[in-house]
């Protein structure tokens, strides 16, 4: 191969007539890890000045493709041309010099160093990063240790770092998965701005509404191959799901979606008997104070899913931490089945059946250990269980949990090799395997694909139907009406409104989450 290779842009099925030279053109990119085919043969072409979505189920190969493009790994085969020239990025640094800046799925900064030290390490000009953050109306204390920053802040920092290079092509791998809606909006604004400047964005997400709203075209991967390029606005969500999952799976999925919506409409019978809720309240909070939490009271009954909707930093994280035994409340009372509940260590909470799915999966996973060990881990936490393992029993429990969440076991030897969405499922699976009475889900579907998300909703409803009490937070507002019996909006550490699940649509939630009185706002 010599010199520059120009290729015409692949014309989309919907008849984009203009033939522009593509900015990025990848052909037949493949990557195998031993026997596992992470990417079989993917084509991707991104035009200048477009926002291009890269879609696919968990494990389809999206992140692998991103890593190939940005020089983190070397593809086994395939050609990549950028700006009309055949290139092979040797390292992320090299890719950045070519004009290609990625934000990876997992935060990339060293937790033990301060932000400033991290930026120096990568040779980033501090001023540029600061300017990008300021442009997004964010302020970050650069002297703080990265490990102490909240995940959404880290993601925005990663974004600012990529933007500081003013790349031709910005690659965002599931950046919005960990972002509350207000921050996600800022990311969209940035993406639109890039497009206006004639720069391109490659955007990975599992939230199809975002794709429809903002992306010009979408390339869809299934099982390591690209299976189509389309204009999302014209195709609609149903069409995307169909291409993503394959026609049959999509039909089954549509049926499941209908069913689960019926479910939600019928299931919360607790609502019809408000006195029953009071009678068997499992978890009660009275005037809790901790960090950002100010005077927060709530109760959850057995069989109930209670949602907590809030913007970033309104106290939701502290609420979960207190209940999970990770943080000491400053004042207030917590009761579990009528008895005072104080957990000084996660162990105390777990022993009483209160378990947590934390917002950041990296905090909950043993990256070098197998899926099996990860899922079974809580079972052996107490010295009473340090003896020989009943392998058959363990295998059964793990298999049950893995099946319930459809975890991709092809790379199960080490959890770090799993795709992001599959890692997320492992954090839920471990509690299915070890049992609980109260489940604290702090954004459990981060990075989980559309099909599996449905399964998680159904699973949560089933767990509730079996008598579990569930506290649920999500950064994706559309999830609340699908999962919750009641939704509490929290603002400034207090409950500002309570909505019945089906009525908790985005608009009403957003209003209450911004601390606006519902009636007031309507009037």
């Amino acid at each position: 191969m010599e010199g520059a290779v120009f290729r015409p842009l692949r014309v989309s099925c919907n008849g984009m007539s203009k033939q522009t030279a593509a900015l990025l053109e990848a052909r037949g990119v493949a990557k195998h890890y031993g026997p596992v085919a992470a990417l079989r043969a993917a084509d991707l072409s991104v035009a200048p000045g477009e926002i291009h979505a890269l879609l696919g189920a968990n494990g389809a190969g999206k992140s692998t493709l991103v890593k190939c493009l940005s020089g983190v790994i070397r593809p086994d085969t395939g050609t990549i041309s950028f700006g009309g020239r055949a290139v092979r990025a040797r390292s992320p640094m090299h890719a950045a010099r070519l004009g290609l800046a990625p934000v990876f799925q997992d935060p990339a900064l060293v937790p033990d160093l301060s932000v400033t030290q991290n930026l120096r390490l990568t040779g980033m000009p501090l001023g540029r990063v600061r300017a990008e953050l300021a442009a997004m109306e964010l302020s970050v204390n650069f002297n703080e240790q990265v490990g102490d920053l909240a995940l959404p802040v880290l993601r925005m920092l990663d974004l600012a770092r990529a933007l500081a290079r003013d790349p031709q092509l910005l690659i965002l791998d599931e950046i919005t998965a960990a972002l509350p809606s207000d921050l996600a909006e800022r990311v969209f604004a940035v993406m639109r701005e890039r497009r206006e400047k004639g720069r391109s964005v490659l955007f990975i997400t599992h939230r199809l509404a975002e794709v429809i709203a903002i992306c010009d075209r979408a390339t869809i991967l299934r099982d390591g191959r690209d299976v189509g390029t389309m204009v999302p606005r014209e195709g609609g969500e149903a069409r995307i799901v169909e291409i993503m999952l394959g026609p049959e799976a999509a039909r089954a999925e549509a049926r499941a979606a209908e069913l689960s919506e019926d479910d939600v409409a019928v299931a919360p019978d607790a609502r019809e008997r408000p006195d029953a809720v009071a009678a068997d309240a499992v978890l009660e909070l009275d005037g809790l104070r901790a960090g950002n939490v100010q005077e927060l009271s709530l109760r959850i009954a057995a069989g109930e899913v209670v949602g907590v909707a809030a913007l970033e930093g309104q106290g939701q994280d502290e609420l979960f931490e207190v209940l999970a035994g990770e943080r000491k409340p400053e004042s207030g009372e917590v009761r579990l089945r009528g008895k005072p509940f104080r957990a000084r260590h996660p162990y105390d909470a777990i022993r009483k059946g209160v378990v947590l799915v934390p917002p950041d999966r990296l905090l909950a996973l043993l990256p070098q250990r197998s899926v099996r060990e990860n899922v079974a881990a809580p079972h052996y936490s107490t010295p009473l269980r340090w003896g020989p393992i009943n392998m058959r029993d363990e295998g059964r429990r793990v298999r049950h949990a893995v099946d319930a969440l459809q975890i991709d076991m092809r790379a199960a030897r080490q959890v770090r090799r799993l795709s992001g969405g599959n890692q997320q499922k492992v954090t839920i699976a471990r509690w299915l395997a070890s049992g609980f009475t109260t489940l604290l889900c702090n954004d459990p579907t981060r990075g989980v694909d559309v099909g599996t998300k449905r399964q998680v909703y159904t699973l949560l409803r089933e767990l509730a139907a079996d008598g579990a009490a569930i506290l649920f937070f999500s950064s994706e507002l559309a999830e609340f009406p699908l999962v919750c019996d009641r939704v509490l909006t929290v603002y400034g550490g207090r409950v500002t409104a309570e909505l019945p699940g089906p009525a908790a649509d985005e608009a009403s939630l957003l209003q209450a989450m911004h601390g606006l009185d519902l009636e007031e706002a309507v009037a």
């Binding site: 890890y33 290139v87 092979r88 990770e326 260590h345 996973l365 060990e373 881990a377 003896g387």
Partner: protein
């Protein structure tokens, strides 16, 4: 900047083999060990005119390797949790002294005294690291220094050193000419450790704590419990190593186990256990111990001096740590 894509296409079988070897470093290590044996054999024939690979030499190699095998066993467990124990050598020495000091009062009491000293030092380490959260380097260096201080008082005074019969049998005898007695102990320990790491709840927790302490905590593990126990176990294994040593030399002295500190860390690192914890196991360490022992014989043949050995062991640790970090970081 342009590379022919065909050149990058590697046959699937080769790729699978590569992944397999990366996942099972023990197989590579056994290869290294075999090569080392052959090289030593060649040097031996050249210098002394005799082969090195004989039943007798193999038996001697195992006999010499077993004490290191014990000490490195404890070190493996500690390093799996992401810690390190720098007191292993002096713990072994202290146990050897205790045994020969109490040896006159009966065999059981002698052995018990040795093991108790190991357990005691291990518990102190474990409490320091696990409960008071002292950095393991500092903590174990501290106990090591204290142990040395106390020991040198005893070493100065003449007292009757009686190595219990069972200890010297275990440390130096061979059954059927070629089967070292200490091999029996080593095999038992190896079986317990290899199976225990894989099939007991405590084994799982060792890996969990080493891999991600935050996640282990969130899963309900009280880290201090795991840590106290692991340092205590390490103390006991070091003591066992000390007993085998004194059974072999029959004469405890302050420098009895000194070389074993560096070597125990080297054996663990060679064996593929991550110094950051969470990955590895005892089977790799066993091969690491054998590699170091044969390397020791080779260096003796070549008339290497002590400082040269130190340089070589130190370099091995540094180079291998760097290589393993690369291999596990980029796959």
């Amino acid at each position: 900047m342009t590379a022919a894509p065909e050149a990058l296409a590697r046959p699937g079988r080769l790729r699978a083999a590569q992944q397999f070897l990366a996942d099972n470093p023990v197989i590579v290590l056994v290869g290294v060990l075999a090569v080392l044996f052959i090289v030593t054999d060649i040097v031996n024939r050249r210098d002394i005119g005799e082969p090195f690979i004989t039943w007798n030499q193999l038996s001697t190699t195992l006999l010499v390797a077993a004490p290191l095998g014990m000490i490195a066993a404890g070190q493996t467990l500690v390093m799996l949790t992401g810690g390190i124990d720098l007191s292993v050598a002096l713990t072994a020495t202290a146990a050897a002294f205790a045994t020969s000091w109490q040896g006159g009062n009966g065999e059981v009491q002698g052995v018990a005294a040795g093991l108790a000293v190991g357990l005691g030092i291990g518990l102190v380490n474990g409490i320091g690291v696990g409960i008071f959260r002292v950095n393991p380097l500092i903590m174990t260096l501290g106990t090591s220094s204290v142990t040395f201080g106390l020991l040198s008082i005893y070493a100065g005074k003449p007292f009757e050193k009686i190595v219990p019969e069972i200890v010297s049998t275990l440390g130096s005898d061979r059954f059927f000419d070629y089967l070292p007695a200490n091999l029996l102990l080593w095999v038992a320990v190896a079986a317990i450790l290899i199976l225990g790491l894989r099939y007991t709840g405590y084994g799982r927790m060792l890996y969990a704590v080493g891999d991600n302490p935050v996640a282990a905590r969130l899963a309900g593990v009280r880290l201090w419990q795991v840590r106290v126990v692991v340092y205590a176990l390490c103390g006991v294994f070091s003591a066992l190593g000390g007993l085998l040593l004194v059974g072999f030399t029959a004469n405890p002295d302050l420098g009895l186990a000194t070389p074993y500190l560096l070597q125990s860390v080297a054996a663990v690192v060679i064996g593929g256990t991550s110094i950051f914890g969470g990955w590895g196991g005892y089977s790799g360490t066993i091969v690491g111990v054998l590699i170091l022992t044969v390397l020791g014989s080779l260096l003796t043949l070549l008339d290497a001096e002590e400082w040269q050995r130190q340089v070589i062991y130190g370099s091995i640790i540094i180079v291998l740590t760097a290589i393993y970090a690369r291999v596990s970081g980029t796959d």
